[in-house]
């Protein structure tokens, strides 16, 4: 470790300096969402937390996160009590901004510690070196910078818990891994998407022995009681006062549409893109166009999406597709329960839910991106599959921060990250043991070259040419482009996972 320059801590200091300078930068409505939660948890009795609806941004995270906000609010009162009033909608005093931004920076400590642990558990100097580069790539990831430090969320802390749990799985500390994951679920329920991988792996590796019928009763009881008591602590109180249905309706709002406002770059974005294209050529193919839904997917509202030419997608279909992919990787992990396959299955579960899920946010790309990073340097084939995801995943986050002042920083930072880390990955990644399965190399180069003019068009030229007209066009291009990269990365990794 000592010979590595720059060191992990040095990068950390540099990144923190940048994050501090970003305090006055653009922040999305998520800033107000979290401010409102601070106010709710601070000023109301827990029995009112999930009922309060003065602001449209109601509390829709599980109880642990609410408690986390309550803890933060205990410090917030020393900064400015104004932010703790439920009625102060869109309150944004200087103190509030500093407090909330600093809380993100400080809570990222969890991610930092988890990455340090990930480095420390490596046995050989070579794997330490590799782990060091992976950790740095995550610590300095443009995704966390854009989502957490500009857009405003607490993903650093959440993924820190996930990485702690994954490193525990890597060191066969399965009980703790399971407990950490259960805690994580009580912070943010989006991680339910990767829960099947945990379920299958813990069941196979921890609850069953070598032989499938050799049930480890003690382990089952330990794990079961731990998880039940964690969920009991989180939800017990709300169950006792009969608010579980109310809580669930907040956590799972099924009334939303298939595609989120910006079209997360998944299979449905490609589907919608195809639909848009078909509208123009449908008359020649004698297809019927549903004129009522012509404007639907382009309006970019959080609502129902309907298609003009292609059949509409009911939630059931997305659910079944996700499940189908997940089951395939669960079978594999059941047959080959080893730690690296487990992280692979977590990645694939994240991928599947991102690619086929219902109302997916572009931010959810972190779900496959973070676990995949841990595997990316296994050998050249993995790196080949990872690179399109790293490019597309980060570019797909650009529309989140759409103001002109942040354009230079998000692009420069992402380009810098890609430049430095792709080079660093190349220097340490071992050669593949077997032949490459997927022709990703060529695809990759073409794909990345297309990216540059695309970003220039979507971020600058479009507005120079069309002004504010056809606003959906750049978003649609970005989504379709990124969806293609993520799809390629997904398929490449899927093949590697099944054949490896």
């Amino acid at each position: 470790m000592d010979s590595e320059h720059p060191t992990f801590n040095q990068c950390l200091v540099l990144a923190t300096a940048l994050k501090l300078l970003l305090i006055p930068a653009y922040r999305s409505t998520d800033f107000e969402v979290h401010r409102n939660w601070l106010a709710i948890t601070h000023s109301l009795h827990p029995s009112k937390w999930y009922l309060e609806d003065t602001s449209e941004w109601t509390l829709d995270y599980p109880p642990f996160f609410a408690v986390f906000e309550w803890v933060l609010s205990q410090f917030a009162q020393f900064f400015d009590t104004g932010m703790l009033q439920v009625k102060n909608l869109n309150y944004g005093s200087m103190e509030t901004i500093y407090f909330q931004r600093l809380s993100v920076i400080v809570s990222e400590l969890v991610l930092i510690l988890s990455l340090r642990r990930f480095i420390n558990i490596q046995a050989s100097p070579q794997s330490k070196k590799v782990a060091n580069i992976i950790s740095l790539s995550l610590l300095l990831s443009p995704a966390f910078l854009i989502i957490d430090h500009i857009h405003f969320q607490y993903n650093g802390m959440m993924f820190g818990i996930l990485i702690f749990s994954l490193t525990d799985a890597l060191t066969d500390n399965l009980l703790r891994s399971g407990i950490l994951f259960a805690i994580l679920l009580c912070f943010k329920h989006i991680y339910l998407y990767i829960a099947p991988a945990y379920f299958a792996y813990l069941l196979r590796k921890y609850c069953l022995g070598e032989n499938l019928f050799d049930i480890q009763i003690v382990n089952c009881i330990k794990l079961g009681s731990a998880i039940v008591s964690i969920f009991g602590v989180a939800f017990g109180y709300f169950a006792a006062i009969g608010q579980i249905p109310q809580l669930l309706s907040r956590l799972f709002p099924f009334s939303r549409g298939l595609c989120h406002a910006y079209w997360a770059p998944n299979a449905w974005a490609l589907y919608a893109f195809l639909d848009r294209v078909l509208i123009h050529i449908a008359p020649r193919l004698n297809l019927s166009v549903d004129s009522a839904s012509l404007g639907s997917a382009t309006r970019g509202l959080v609502g129902d999406t309907s298609f003009a030419v292609l059949p509409n997608i009911p939630p059931r279909v997305t659910f079944l597709l996700t499940l189908a992919v997940q089951i395939v990787c669960l079978v594999k992990i059941f047959l080959q329960p080893n730690p690296s396959k487990f992280i692979g299955s977590v990645t694939l579960c994240g991928f599947a839910s991102f690619m086929f899920g219902w109302h997916v946010h572009e931010k959810a790309i972190l779900l496959p991106l973070v676990p995949f990073s841990l595997l990316a340097l296994q050998d050249r084939r993995y790196l080949g599959a990872f690179r399109p995801l790293a490019v597309a995943g980060h570019i797909s986050l650009f529309p989140l921060v759409f103001k002109a002042a942040e354009f230079p920083i998000k692009t420069a930072y992402t380009i810098l990250w890609i430049m430095v880390f792709f080079m660093a990955f190349d220097t340490v990644v071992p050669v593949a043991k077997s032949q490459r399965v997927f022709l990703l190399d060529r695809f990759e180069i073409v794909y990345m070259t297309v990216g540059v003019p695309l970003i220039l068009y979507t971020e600058i030229f479009h507005f120079a040419i069309f002004g504010s007209r056809l606003e959906f066009l750049p978003l649609m291009f970005t989504s379709a482009y990124c969806a293609l990269g993520i799809l390629g990365s997904f398929l490449g990794f899927f093949v590697l996972y099944l054949t490896g």
Partner: protein
């Protein structure tokens, strides 16, 4: 240390006790974090990435500073420097050139030389394509909007990256060649220059275009290093024509060029281009040809830049009147000895001796002129007598310190000139002493601008940039001499105490003396700046070989020359 036969000592410079300023020989290399960040790029496969990476990182931090407020943001009626720059873009694109220096002078009348006006015109034209209302004549006074702000910030960034950044890249290349510094140290030097906080916070935070003037000046120094004297003087005149503050460097540049053209004695003079020179009594040789060419370059460059004002002087005024007005606007001698509190001699000693009450402005001007000349004389003389390439940045920095400390009408932001020039020497390789001094100088300069930055709400940017700078250079490690240690520690303790007191003490003393923190700042910084002036003098004399001569009683000049020839 006798001169060696030419083929023998290619690694000779390394063996000299003095000036072995390279960390690249140490493995692993981690003397300070900044060097550590450059470390991965030492391998040949990574080397092509070093410039893109360093420049992009520098850009990210620069742009991150723009999220802070600019000078005069949302503060009617007069706003601030941001409005001044915007206003110049407005008047230059709407008015004929003959009215630029005359139009409504009460509202931020143009008071910079012509090149700034042309630059403003270009920015204004481009901005007007995007949105006409940003620069509408008269109606746009005090105009502020989100997009306009981004545009204005972008003009600074683009100017910076078109002029200042390339110029320091080129300068580090030539200076490292002059001093025989290796690549790794050269890039460390470049990174230090890029990380220097003063220029970033004034240009990207406060809002000005100092980087254009400084960039042109540094590019001219680089040209001198590359033996392109005419290009260098052309660029230097351009720098002067962008911002008159470039005059701080002018005497040193003049002395250097004159020194190249004039040589004394029969042996050892600079032979290059001396063939057709004028020889006076075998004692002084003057290279008339170069001298004349330099003169022609300077005058014609000035001529071309001001020509539009002469040609298009308008119907109501003559050409001379136009030029007179330009000079009058650019050099406001009618104003007082100083305006805001600034850490120079006049302002600091004014606490004891009230100059403005006891002396007239005219006599003060004369006194200040005399003292300035006295202060810059040693540096100019050194450059004149020993016009060596490696001495150039030292001489320029010392000269600028002299101006800053003693001249008339100094602004707190003018500290950038000596500071940036002084920081240039890092391109010749760094050791702990140099690093601590340069780092300290930048910190003092930042602290001296604190009253201004605080007023404008740039506290966050000030804190982060200064702390980052101190950390990057490991400034907790002090220079070796006990005197320097005491000086640095004393200053840091004083600065921290002042900051702490300003934060915590309210009312009482502060109500009676509202300026108390600023006065404390001025006194502390003045002391530090004087120390820096002396240090520059000492280091320059050392680099010139004067100290060796004094101590060893033998001429080191020839040895030095031999050495440099090999290096070059």
């Amino acid at each position: 240390m006798a001169p060696q036969p030419s083929g023998a000592g290619s690694n000779k410079p390394r063996k000299r006790k003095r000036h072995v300023r390279s960390y690249s020989l140490q493995l692993p290399s981690k003397p300070f974090p900044l060097a550590s960040f450059i470390h991965p790029f030492r391998s040949s496969s990574m080397q092509r990435l070093v410039l893109p990476t360093v420049l992009t990182t520098a850009f990210i931090f620069r742009w991150a500073v723009t999220y802070g407020p600019y000078s005069g943001e949302h503060t009617p009626p007069m706003f601030g420097d941001f409005e001044a720059q915007r206003h110049w873009m407005e008047i230059t694109i709407h008015l004929p050139i003959s009215r630029w220096y005359w139009y409504d002078l009460q509202w931020w009348g143009l008071d910079y030389p012509p090149l700034t006006a042309y630059h403003s015109w270009l920015c204004g034209i481009i901005g007007s394509i995007v949105d006409k209302s940003w620069f509408a004549l008269d109606d746009s006074r005090g105009y502020e909007s989100y997009n306009q702000r981004v545009f204005m910030r972008a003009t600074v960034a683009v100017s910076d990256y078109l002029i200042y950044i390339p110029s320091i890249v080129i300068f580090t290349k030539w200076y490292s060649r002059t001093t025989g510094t290796d690549k790794y140290d050269r890039y460390i030097g470049l990174a230090i220059l890029l990380a220097s906080p003063g220029l970033i916070i004034i240009d990207y935070g406060h809002f000005q275009f100092n980087s254009v003037m400084l960039g042109l000046a540094i590019l001219s120094f680089a040209s001198f290093l590359a033996d392109r004297l005419l290009w260098g003087s052309l660029l230097f005149v351009m720098a002067l024509c962008f911002k008159q503050m470039g005059l701080y460097y002018a005497p040193a540049v003049f002395a250097y060029l004159l020194g190249l053209c004039v040589s004394f004695g029969s042996g050892g003079g600079d032979e290059e281009g001396m063939n057709g020179g004028l020889n006076i009594a075998g004692l002084v040789k003057i290279d008339v040809q170069t001298l004349v060419l330099l003169g022609i370059t300077v005058i014609s460059t000035f001529g071309i830049i001001v020509a539009p004002f002469v040609v298009f002087h308008g119907a109501e005024r003559g050409a001379l009147e136009q030029l007179g007005q330009m000079v009058h606007r650019v050099f406001p001698f009618a104003r007082g000895l100083w305006e805001d509190k600034v850490a120079n001699f006049w302002c600091a000693t004014n606490i004891v001796f009230k100059y403005r009450e006891k002396l007239s402005t005219a006599s003060l001007q004369k006194i200040s002129l005399a003292m300035t000349i006295l202060a810059i004389l040693p540096f100019c003389l050194l450059l004149f007598l020993r016009p060596k390439k490696r001495l150039l940045p030292w001489g320029v920095a010392g000269c600028a310190w002299g101006f800053f400390l003693f001249s008339f009408q100094v602004h707190e932001k003018s500290v950038l000139l000596p500071m940036v020039a002084m920081t240039l020497v890092v391109a010749g390789g760094v050791d702990r002493d140099l690093l601590s001094w340069i780092g300290w100088a930048n910190n003092v300069a930042m602290f001296s601008m604190w009253p201004l930055l605080r007023r404008e709400g740039l506290g966050l940017q000030y804190t982060v940039l200064t702390a980052l700078w101190s950390w990057l250079l490991s400034l907790h490690e002090l220079p070796s001499s006990i005197f320097a240690k005491a000086l640095h520690v004393g200053f840091y303790a004083g600065a921290i105490a002042l900051h702490g007191a300003e934060l915590s003490i309210k009312g009482g003393v502060v109500d009676r003396f509202p300026d108390i923190w600023v006065v404390g700042n001025v006194i502390l910084c003045f002391g530090a700046f004087v120390a820096m002036y002396l240090w520059c003098l000492y280091r320059m004399a050392d680099e010139a070989g004067l100290l060796d001569e004094m101590m060893l009683q033998q001429p080191a000049g020839e040895v030095e020359k031999e050495r440099l020839k090999k290096v070059e």
